[in-house]
């Protein structure tokens, strides 16, 4: 499973999205269920899946899926297709 697939699975799971509803350019404002609790759940899920725990400051800056990938890329976690 690629990192893209892992991230997609994780976010679908946390935000209860159908596979057809997921996009890698999804933004927080596009998803009603992306509330503050979801932010916490995403931080926990990213830690479990990729072994990196967002700092509170990092978690606050996340506005969408591209931000998550960009942040993790800086930690040498690649999302190249």
């Amino acid at each position: 499973m690629t990192n893209r697939e892992k991230l997609q699975d994780l976010l679908q799971d946390i935000l209860l999205l159908d596979p057809s509803e997921f996009r890698f350019d999804l933004m927080r404002d596009d998803v009603q269920m992306w509330d503050s609790l979801a932010v916490v759940a995403i931080a926990v899920g990213v830690d479990e899946t990729f072994g990196y725990h967002f700092t509170p400051e990092e978690a606050m800056t996340i506005k969408g899926v591209p931000d998550i990938m960009a942040l993790l890329e800086t930690k040498s976690i690649s999302f190249a297709e």
Partner: protein, 396 residues
């Protein structure tokens, strides 16, 4: 001398004979499930230390294996007789000539609504082995005439599994109690019991046991339990919990905390939250131990389960669970195992109709939901079972 009568699914005629003897000769007796936990056995032993509290009462019902908190509820003969007189009218039981015991008589619903009613009105009580031997039960149901049944909702899947599309025209009354009324299964129940009038009964062991009753056709809402029966008054406590006064209620309880008399002036908690409808009927909105605040939001597990019934046709159950912050929540257990698409339907229903605080912490499945001899869900087994399969979880 108190007789202990321990019932299970087995058709033990000597036990029924002892029950008849106790009732007719005014001997005190305790009915209890056959498989008692150690805590319940200890409670029964303690009865000898609490003779004063229980003197003057006639019989007692031992509960509750499902929660693991055993308690004895003491009833009074005259109150129980008065209740079956009322039920006979409310439940339109005059044409009924016999009743088949599918639930064990350790369950107050079966003890009062069936056995005692049959005894007082000179009707035949037919013991069965329940679904332990479904073919024998099917024959008994086929041979019965003008019969009444008392069931719990979790037995409907058993009826479907074992009896399919068979018809039992000799059954003319079917009573449900003890769990959420299987409103959505009424078309199937009408096929299997084509001549039966179906009732939704509500109560609790403290009420010994009946509080309300309605015909199945009186509402399309499974939470609607109808109007109080004559002799029962209902009201809400300040927190929305349903309280009752009943001239039929238990007169004392015995638990680990000792014996307590129940006075006639006491408003007794039923264990549920409720609302009163504009027509005077009542709707149950959740068990008081299944409604909680999570992230500042009031969560009713029953409301969630009721909604999920629209997308999940199998069995649904739940048990309490704490999250990583030690806040109470719950796990949803479905049966049988859902397909990925069915799981997505459940998740979609949660997402579209409830905020995250209402979502379960976990969604698990079991091949079948464990039940007690009474047919009610065995909460302890549900929690401790190692066979649960995890399908989804919240990460907070």
């Amino acid at each position: 001398m108190i007789s202990f009568l321990r019932f299970d699914e087995d058709d033990d005629l000597s036990l029924h004979s002892r029950l008849n003897q106790c009732w007719t000769s005014n001997q005190p007796f305790i009915v209890a499930p056959h498989s008692l936990g150690d805590a319940t056995v200890e409670l029964l032993r303690s009865i000898n230390r609490n003779q004063e509290a229980v003197s003057g009462t006639a019989f007692a019902v031992a509960t509750s294996g499902s929660t693991g908190e055993p308690r004895l509820y003491f009833g009074d003969r005259n109150r129980a007789r008065a209740l079956v007189q009322t039920l006979h009218v409310v439940q339109r039981s005059d044409p009924v000539t016999e009743t088949l015991g599918i639930l064990p008589l350790s369950y107050s619903f079966a003890l009062v609504n069936q056995w005692l009613w049959a005894t007082e009105f000179g009707r035949r009580y037919v013991p069965t082995n329940g679904f332990k031997y479904p073919e024998i039960l099917a024959k008994q149901l086929l041979n019965t005439k003008s019969a009444m049944l008392c069931l719990v909702a979790s037995q409907v899947p058993l009826i479907k599994r074992f009896f399919g599309n068979r018809k039992f025209p000799g059954v003319i009354r079917v009573h449900f109690a003890g769990e959420r009324f299987p409103q959505k299964e009424l078309p199937y129940i009408a096929e299997v019991f084509p001549n039966a009038t179906v009732f939704n009964n509500y109560g609790c062991t403290e009420a010994m046991p009946r509080l309300t009753c309605r015909l199945s056709d009186d509402s399309e809402d499974s939470e609607n339990v109808g109007q109080p029966i004559p002799g029962v008054r209902l009201r809400l406590g300040l927190d929305g919990a349903l309280l009752f006064r009943s001239k039929y209620s238990a007169v004392a309880t015995l638990s680990d905390n000792g014996a307590q008399r129940i006075s006639d002036n006491e408003w007794i908690p039923s264990g549920d939250y409720a609302v009163q409808n504009s027509d005077g009927s009542w709707s149950i909105s959740g068990r008081t131990n299944q409604v909680f605040k999570r992230h500042g939001v009031k969560v009713s597990v029953q409301a969630v389960l009721s909604h999920l019934e629209n997308v999940w046709t199998g069995q649904l159950s739940q048990y309490s669970l704490y999250d990583t912050d030690s806040s109470i929540s719950y796990a949803l257990v479905v049966s049988p195992e859902p397909s990925p698409e069915q799981l997505r339907s459940i998740l979609r229903a949660l997402r579209d109709h409830f905020s995250r605080a209402h979502w379960p912490l976990r969604i698990e499945s079991l091949s079948s939901i464990p039940t007690l001899a009474s047919g009610k869900i065995d909460s302890q087994e549900l929690i401790s079972s190692n066979n649960k399969k995890l399908h989804w979880r919240q990460r907070i």
